[in-house]
């Protein structure tokens, strides 16, 4: 007789996490919505080939094409200069999502670096954590506005209006939002430093740099991922706030926040022009927040597998 009991296949970590993640309905819905939005923004312009900055050169035609209601030629209508809203939504979304992602990467990089340094090297801990506290006590939104006002023109003159604004916004958001991830990473590193495998690595003479890169960093990836997801949401909101207050991207360079800001002027006559960008921002942030929630549950060993 052959033994028929099948040995269960060993389960990988990512498989476990994915199984737990799938049980979170909100996170799954968020993932689908976000994927749709990314598709809309990235693939959309290849299908819908109207130039988002195209203004009818003929003045009479231009006036005729302004403020159109939704038609088949322009499914979301046109704006006050006759530019196609659908194309502008796609172009704006690309910038908004790019700003969110890049700003998040900068902030996570700074946060992880400072968190690891403070957690691993006892000498740096006091100074770095005081600095983090100081940054947490700064009035961030007013400071961001001041940064945009004071450095905006100079950087735009240096790098061109689009690249300059993009770099300034991304950098400003990154520099003002790393504190929470630094604190989380520091806590994790402090706990990891006392674990046997780190001690073993140290005792055979591994230099600090390699201990950090090989042993510590892979073990703090989970909290960093959660912080990163939530960071995207924060960065997208901050960018649209700046654009909404008129201190973000220039008018001919649409982002969702900028489109909303432009739409507010025409809110009474054409409310749909405010609705679409606002809805897009809200849906993105909502889905990203839900994904962050789901990831946190899935990566938490106390919840996973229950």
């Amino acid at each position: 007789m052959t033994d028929t009991t099948v040995i269960e296949k060993p389960r990988s970590f990512s498989r476990d996490v994915w199984d737990q993640f799938r049980t979170h309905k909100g996170a799954m819905a968020g993932l689908i919505v976000l994927a749709t939005l990314i598709l809309f923004v990235v693939v959309g312009p290849f299908i819908w080939r109207i130039d988002p900055t195209f203004v009818e050169p003929d003045a009479a035609k231009m006036i005729m094409s302004r403020n159109k209601p939704p038609t088949w030629a322009h499914p979301l209508g046109t704006d006050q200069l006759g530019r196609d809203m659908l194309a502008r939504m796609m172009a704006g979304g690309k910038v908004s999502l790019a700003v969110g992602t890049v700003a998040m990467l900068i902030s996570i990089f700074i946060g992880t670096f400072i968190g690891v340094m403070a957690g691993y090297f006892k000498r740096l801990d006091g100074t770095l954590m005081r600095m983090t506290d100081l940054f947490l006590a700064l009035p961030l939104l007013p400071l961001l506005l001041v940064l945009m006002m004071l450095f905006g023109d100079r950087i735009r003159a240096l790098l061109g209006p689009e690249a300059g604004t993009f770099l300034l916004i991304v950098f400003a958001i990154g520099v003002t939002s790393w504190m929470h991830s630094a604190r989380i990473v520091r806590g994790q590193v402090l706990a990891l430093k006392e674990r046997e495998f780190v001690m073993a690595a140290k005792s055979i003479g591994t230099p600090s740099r390699r201990v950090i890169l090989r042993h510590i960093l892979p073990n703090v990836v989970s909290p960093i991922m959660v912080a990163a997801t939530l960071g995207i949401a924060g960065a997208i909101i901050t960018e649209s706030v700046l654009s909404f207050l008129g201190l973000g991207f220039p008018p001919d360079f649409p982002t969702w926040g900028r489109l909303l800001y432009d739409g507010v002027e025409y809110m009474q006559l054409y409310p749909q022009r405010v609705m679409w960008p606002g809805l897009a921002i809200s849906l993105t942030v909502l889905s990203v927040n839900y994904i962050g929630d789901g990831l946190r549950d899935a990566l938490d060993p106390r919840i996973r597998g229950r």
């Binding site: 909100g26 506290d133 100081l134 006590a137 700064l138 009035p139 961030l140 939104l141 007013p142 400071l143 506005l145 001041v146 940064l147 006002m149 004071l150 450095f151 905006g152 023109d153 100079r154 949401a233 909101i237 649209s240 706030v241 909404f244 207050l245 008129g246 201190l247 909303l260 507010v264 809110m267 009474q268 409310p271 405010v274 609705m275 606002g278 921002i281 809200s282 942030v285 909502l286 927040n289 839900y290 929630d293």
Partner: protein, 335 residues
């Protein structure tokens, strides 16, 4: 408790000084400074005189110390003069706005009441909504009320206030015409009619801010309440035969309010920042609007002062939260 409070107070002073230095240097070193904006037609010797008159030829640290002196000595002294008719600040240079050519604090004094009325009532209403919702959804976890509550909280927390504000304006003032979309600052409450008018114009901005804050606070309340409901002392209390009401509303409530109270205190500065946006949407003439106006007009003293006031608020409420935490949770004090 006294040493704990004193230690916190002493720690706040270097933080404030550092922040003031950061703000001062940031604005001072920026390329868009007004010294570069004197027209080129002005002769060099006149230009030199202008710079000297503004004190801009002094070294950086002297200007910084002078600014600190104006902020922490001259302006409070001026305030005391205004209250008691003394003359402490007479003849002293006050911080002058470049827009209005009058002291910055006069403008701020005119603007603050609007901000405080709108923000204060919004925060109070937000907290009053959030606490019962958070408590009840934690108590009945996974019930339909909890599901709905967490979903609404997530939406309220994710949808940016500038969009909710615009949405409410489109629905309630453009389509339905129930509420005005612009806040009339000159309105004085003297009788019943003007009071109703004031309530009507406050309705939309207060709703926007209250919803946003309620979402955040109810999430915290729920999480904190859930943590405490599964504690051993709750089981003990029930085992002793206490009524469910006493267990939940006395034992659990008191313990779970500790983090919530600090979150409420810590949230106050950020609601001022949130008010910058809401004031812009509803055209409330408060300090947030003053900041935006000053930024667009390149009015650096006003910008510096307002930013620093926001910083003082943050440090102050961090301090209050720390001390409250110490009062509510004795374990914190003995570190």
């Amino acid at each position: 408790m006294l040493t704990y409070t004193l230690r916190r107070l002493l720690l706040a002073i270097p933080t404030l000084l550092l922040i003031s230095l950061v703000i001062f240097l940031l604005v001072d070193f920026a390329p868009g400074s007004p010294m570069s904006e004197i027209p080129l037609t002005v002769p060099p010797e006149v230009r030199q005189k202008m710079i000297e008159a503004m004190g801009a030829d002094q070294p950086v640290f002297i200007r910084y110390l002078l600014w600190l002196r104006q902020f922490f000595w001259v302006e409070p002294a001026g305030l005391i003069d205004g209250w008691f008719g003394t003359s402490l600040a007479e003849g002293q240079q006050r911080i002058i706005s470049w827009q209005t050519r009058s002291p910055v604090f006069v403008t701020i004094g005119q603007r603050i009441p609007q901000t405080l009325t709108v923000i204060g009532s919004a925060y109070a209403i937000g907290v009053l909504i959030a606490l019962p919702i958070g408590i009840y959804s934690a108590y009945r976890q996974y019930s339909w009320f909890d599901q709905l509550g967490t979903f609404v909280a997530m939406v309220g927390y994710s949808v940016p206030t500038f969009f909710t504000g615009v949405l409410l304006i489109v629905i309630f003032s453009v389509n339905l015409g129930w509420f005005p979309s612009i806040y009339d600052t000159t309105l004085k409450v003297v009788d019943w009619d003007s009071f109703i008018k004031q309530v009507m114009q406050m309705a939309l901005p207060v709703t926007v801010l209250a919803l946003f804050n309620a979402a955040e606070i109810s999430r915290y309340t729920r999480a904190s309440f859930l943590d405490n409901l599964s504690q051993d002392y709750v089981r003990t209390a029930r085992a002793k035969g206490m009524s469910e009401k006493t267990v939940v509303l006395k034992h659990v409530l008191r313990n779970s309010m500790i983090p919530v109270v600090t979150v409420i205190a810590l949230g106050i500065p950020s609601i001022f920042a949130g008010a910058i946006i809401t004031e812009q949407v509803f055209k409330v003439n408060g300090i947030g609007a003053a900041l935006i106006g000053a930024i667009h007009a390149n009015d650096l003293p006003m910008v510096q002062t307002l930013t620093f006031i926001f910083a003082v608020l943050i440090v102050l409420f961090n301090l209050i939260a720390d001390i409250l935490y110490g009062v509510l949770d004795p374990r914190i004090r003995y570190d």
